[in-house]
């Protein structure tokens, strides 16, 4: 998901200590550990942070064609994006998509997790079934949902619209992702379908992690089953919920493959990542592409950085 994990430095093994006592120098105690992690430090420094730096430099330059040298242009590219019609629309699309995708997957995942936790029959089978969509790539999901969400009207309906017509539910026939205002909400459906099983697994683990004694105690105190969940179980699931929001949120902001598979490169379903691709590979405008990439990075950082801060603090307070 992200490169944040990183390998923890290995604790010095007894062997080097012995050698150190024999007078091989104090370096021996930390050197093997450093040698062990240095390849990944170097690789991350170059290929993650080096590239981020390069991208930022490009975004702040006026290199608008691959052949130009480009010089420093300040925040010009970043500001110019907001002057055009396409960029704000793409941002709005991404925002609608994020709200419905994160909200939908969270709600559905929580509900499925709850049902399984309450001991529905055939739980192992259902759990596998709900998780299965995770194994499918967004491209494949998109190709199928492109057909399912065909916006043809009742007389030519295919996909889900045809199902609605068949069931005499004509009022449900709709434009799906081609609808002008909330089309991106429909675009979130395949993503919700794909990720809610995963969120279910997170919540299920969370539910199971709440000790039965706590619930018993609440019940003894006269809580209804609803109150047990509302006041005892859910507060303990905050870390799980936060994790789920971070994972879904950063996926959502970067969404590219699903959009390409369902809609292709059309303004109707334009999002920043698709716009960036067009700028870099079709228009060949490095500075503008990098400016969009910078905004994407910032948007993801808004989700990820508070999470990292929170994790570090928590680990410290737990004395790890």
């Amino acid at each position: 998901m992200s490169a944040a994990g990183g390998a923890a430095p290995a604790a010095p093994s007894p062997a080097p200590r012995r050698r150190a006592r024999r007078g091989a120098g104090r370096a021996a105690s930390w050197l093997p550990g450093l040698l062990l992690v240095s390849p990944s430090i170097v690789l991350i420094a170059v290929f993650v942070y080096g590239m981020i730096g390069w991208n930022t430099a490009l975004a702040l330059s006026d290199k608008h064609a691959p052949i130009e040298e480009g010089s420093f242009a300040g925040l010009e590219n970043l500001a110019a994006l907001w002057q055009e019609a396409r960029w704000p629309a793409a941002v709005a699309n991404a925002a609608v998509f994020t709200v419905f995708f994160v909200g939908g997957a969270l709600l559905l995942g929580w509900l499925l997790g709850l049902l399984l936790e309450k001991g529905i029959a055939g739980e192992p089978v259902l759990r596998t079934l709900f998780l299965a969509p995770m194994a499918v790539s967004f491209i494949a999901t998109g190709v199928v949902w492109r057909w399912l969400m065909n916006p043809a009207p009742a007389e030519r309906a295919t996909g889900l619209n045809a199902l609605f017509v068949h069931l005499n539910l004509d009022f449900l026939v709709n434009d799906w992702w081609t609808a002008p205002d909330l089309g991106m909400a429909a675009m979130a459906l395949p993503a919700v379908w794909q990720l809610s099983g995963y969120i279910m697994a997170l919540f299920l683990a969370g539910f199971r992690g709440v000790p039965e004694e706590l619930r018993e105690a609440a019940r003894v105190d006269g809580c209804s089953e609803w109150q047990v969940y509302r006041h005892v179980v859910m507060p303990q699931l905050r870390p799980v919920t936060l994790t789920a929001v971070i994972i879904l949120g950063h996926m959502s902001l970067k969404v590219f493959d699903l959009i390409i598979a369902v809609a292709g490169k059309q303004i109707a379903a334009d999002v920043p990542a698709v716009y960036m691709w067009t700028m870099v590979f079709e228009v060949r405008d490095p500075a503008k592409g990098a400016a969009i990439a910078t905004y994407l990075l910032l948007a993801v950082a808004v989700f990820v950085v508070p999470y990292l801060v929170w994790t570090v603090r928590k680990e410290r307070s737990e004395g790890r």
Partner: protein
């Protein structure tokens, strides 16, 4: 264009990564030719050219460096990387015209004027074509084929049902016919597909309304789009768009064309690669579908062309020139085009080679009769990538908000940006 856009993303990343790793060997007796012809008739045509090349040049190994996907966008991303790292192939495919401008201005391409003179290509190709692919008086690529953009495909039985006796010849007649189809039949009057097919429709409407001279003048940098003539053309465009199907955004050109052949739609304006698609579907010309120049464009051939270039620093320049000679020759073009489903750029092709396809025979006859020429903007003849993208964005925003004045203003602005 002739391939689904949806494949683009999957291959893109891999393609870029591959670019860094794969270096053309260079040296020795070989010629490395870069293209995006990897399937169907395109690949068959390329293979016919390769066979011929290897027969004529037994000592030279042919390296086919084709990159699949995204109607060339993946290939172009790979190519960009190779050109920037000064590792060019010996020859690469590109749409003739302004799409090559970025490469020319970057100094990646050698002018081919001497090759044109040696091979007599200035005489063999239509004069106006050479003029339209020249940049500052020099030519930089050898066109191997010609596709036509301004073709109106229609379903004869649907037209009959609607009481439209003749295929419309002007935009007014077209709009009248669309009204009639709307009223009297259940068919979709004008089938379009995803956003790019609307761009494609727009260029045919602009040509039909403004005529070849007015249309060609639009593509001069800084051209004035803020005129009543353009406004009238856009009003026609809007009138046509009112008769398109509402689910168009979820379809590509194949679905739109198929609707015509199946009788679900009356008209579709699409390039002549649709003829090859109708053949694939087993449809009969004149019965299941028929064609005419898109309304108002009779006598004008709105063309696009695949061509091959000679990069600066090509490792095997001699062999590359031999390849370009083959590509520009009558024999080479007549071997390639019947398989690809296009007509040769040369005007002296042998009609016998195209007799199997009713469309190609008719197209070749028209091409050889010396029509007026206009370049297709959407397919990279008249505008570079930036301008083309600006127009595409303007059209996409128009499809969202329906603001016709906004569309004209955006088109005008796009022309001024050059």
């Amino acid at each position: 264009m002739r391939r689904r856009w949806t494949r683009a993303s999957a291959a893109a990343l891999g393609a870029v990564l591959a670019a860094s790793g794969c270096g053309g060997g260079g040296g020795g007796n070989q010629v490395e030719v870069f293209s995006w012809w990897t399937g169907g008739g395109e690949e068959a045509g390329l293979n016919a050219l390769i066979d011929r090349f290897e027969q004529d040049n037994p000592g030279t190994e042919f390296v086919n460096a084709a990159v699949a996907g995204g109607s060339g966008t993946n290939a172009q991303a790979v190519l960009e990387g190779r050109l920037q790292s000064q590792d060019p192939p010996d020859s690469f495919q590109g749409h003739a015209g302004a799409e090559l401008l970025d490469y020319i201005e970057a100094g990646y391409l050698q002018p081919l004027d001497d090759l044109y003179d040696e091979q007599g290509l200035r005489e063999a190709l239509p004069e106006q074509l050479v003029e339209q692919i020249s940049h500052d008086g020099s030519v930089y690529s050898v066109p191997v084929n010609i596709h036509r953009s301004n073709v109106m495909w229609f379903n004869p039985s649907v037209l009959e049902e609607a009481g439209v006796e003749e295929p419309p010849r002007t935009l007014d007649e077209l709009i009248g016919a669309l009204d009639a189809v709307e009223e009297k039949t259940d068919a979709i009057p004008m089938a379009v597909g995803a956003q790019w097919t609307v761009d494609h429709l727009l260029e045919s409407v602009l040509l039909g309304s403004l005529g070849p001279e007015g249309y060609n003048a639009l593509w001069e940098p800084g051209a004035d789009w803020d005129t009543p003539e353009v406004a009238a053309a856009l009003a026609d465009f809007e009138a046509v768009m009112e008769h398109t199907q509402e689910e168009s955004a979820a379809e590509d050109w194949q679905e739109a064309a198929q609707r015509v052949a199946e009788g679900e739609a009356a008209f579709n304006i699409m390039g002549d690669w649709a003829a090859g698609y109708f053949d694939e579907l087993g449809k009969t010309a004149g019965e299941d579908y028929d064609w005419a120049p898109s309304p108002g464009t009779e006598g004008t051939y709105m063309w696009l062309s695949d061509s091959f270039t000679l990069p600066v620093g090509a490792p095997n320049e001699e062999a590359a020139r031999t390849w370009l000679e083959l590509v520009g020759s009558k024999g080479g073009q007549d071997a390639f085009n019947p398989l690809k489903g296009s007509i040769p750029a040369r005007s002296d092709a042998d009609p016998q080679a195209y007799a199997d396809s009713p469309y190609l025979s008719a197209a070749l006859e028209e091409w050889q009769s010396g029509p007026e020429l206009a370049g297709s903007f959407w397919h990279g003849v008249t505008v570079d990538n930036r301008w083309k993208n600006d127009i595409d964005t303007a059209v996409g925003l128009y499809l969202q908000d329906g603001d016709l004045d906004g569309l004209q203003a955006a088109l005008h602005q796009a022309a001024q940006a050059e």
